[in-house]
């Protein structure tokens, strides 16, 4: 297991999360290069908020993101059929995840 590896060179790269309305989750829409968070926010506004609706932006330095490794992606695959866990057809779940 290699958890929480930091991608080399990621110090100056920020992940940008855009929120469409106050009731939506912030969604990762891309990255910007910037020396600090304030500059990242200023630059993110024109890269990711000029075409689509946006009420709020987050930026997160990649170095601050702990992630699983793609090498261990198999642990995210179930060994037996677990389709009974899929909640895709539950309307209530969709309503909770995406309140409009």
């Amino acid at each position: 297991m290699n958890l929480a590896e930091i991608t080399p060179g990621a110090e100056g790269v920020f992940a940008v999360f855009r929120q469409e309305t106050k009731n939506d989750p912030h969604v990762h829409v891309g990255d910007v290069h910037a020396p600090d968070a304030e500059m990242a926010l200023v630059l993110a506004k024109e890269q990711f908020a000029r075409r689509d609706p946006c009420v709020n932006l987050w930026v997160v330095r990649y170095a601050d993101i702990a992630a699983t490794s793609y090498r261990d992606a198999d642990m995210l695959e179930p060994s037996t059929d677990k389709s009974y866990r899929f909640g895709g057809s539950y309307r209530e779940q969709q309503r909770v995840y995406r309140r409009r």
Binding site: H33, V42, K45, E46, R50
Partner: protein, 265 residues
């Protein structure tokens, strides 16, 4: 519809001289936005990083949009925003010479953008306080985008001023070179005193200049930059006296339009 036709307009803009003065003020403002917008657009593809390239290009588009809104209000009988933008010789332009200067390096571009954006904020606040409701609404519309322009130029100014000796030196040089021309943004347009006297304008250009200086000086000081001594306002742009840079800019900007002035886009 011209904002002049708004129900509250006749009371403050009763006579033709005052309408003419307001038109002249809006034309000069529109010219500032158009010419600076064009200068910003020259960075498209050349800015120091892709993010700032996109951001400054967007800002350029914003400024052209503002110019159009202001030209619509400044246009006299038979004039259109397109003809005002593309159909006038340099001496008919009323922009301050600050905005027509060639871009120079990134420090010059950022310092100019910042000085200009701070001036625009003062000007917009005055228009927003206008008893003419329709003009106040226009000012609030423009302010939404101008707020971002100030953010962009201010974070860049801050980073350049604090980056190191070479960077700081370039910022200081740009400030020294541009200061007088920035002050000349506040040359009073003809007939302005009548607008102030009638209450159509909350503050004239001289008062606006004072507000601008009191806004920019503390910020420059906090960044460790030296505020240049005022060597007296270098006037010219507002009365149509421009540098050769404007003629060259217009020659390029209007080349497509001149190829077929009657074309519909």
């Amino acid at each position: 519809m011209a904002l002049w036709a708004a129900p509250d307009a006749p009371a403050v803009l009763g006579d033709e001289a005052r309408r003419e003065a307001l038109r002249a003020m809006l034309l000069a403002w529109a010219d500032d936005e158009l010419i600076l917008g064009h200068r910003h657009s020259e960075w498209t593809g050349f800015a120091p990083d892709i993010e700032s390239d996109v951001a400054l290009s967007s800002i350029a588009q914003d400024e052209l949009g503002h110019a159009r809104l202001l030209y619509e209000q400044a246009a006299g009988a038979g004039q259109t925003p397109d003809r005002l933008a593309f159909g006038r010789p340099p001496e008919a332009f009323r922009n301050a010479t600050l905005v027509e200067r060639e871009n120079g390096d990134w420090a010059v571009t950022i310092v100019r953008a910042w000085l200009y954006d701070c001036a625009d904020a003062v000007r917009l606040a005055v228009l927003a306080a206008s008893p003419l409701g329709s003009f106040a609404a226009l000012a609030r519309t423009l302010e939404r985008e101008e707020k971002y322009h100030r953010l962009f130029s201010d974070v860049w100014l801050d980073r350049l001023a604090r980056a190191g000796d070479d960077s700081r030196g370039r910022v200081q040089d740009a400030l020294d070179a541009l200061w007088d021309e920035a002050l000349a943004l506040f040359e009073a347009p003809p007939g302005e005193e009548a607008l102030v006297a009638a209450g159509a304008l909350a503050a004239g250009a001289a008062e606006q200049a004072v507000r601008w200086v009191s806004a920019v000086e503390p910020r420059l000081g906090a960044l460790g930059l030296r505020v240049p001594p005022g060597r007296g306002v270098r006037s010219g742009g507002r009365s149509g006296r421009h540098t050769p840079a404007l003629a060259a800019l217009l020659d390029e900007m209007t080349s497509v339009s001149r190829s077929d002035p009657e074309a519909r886009w």
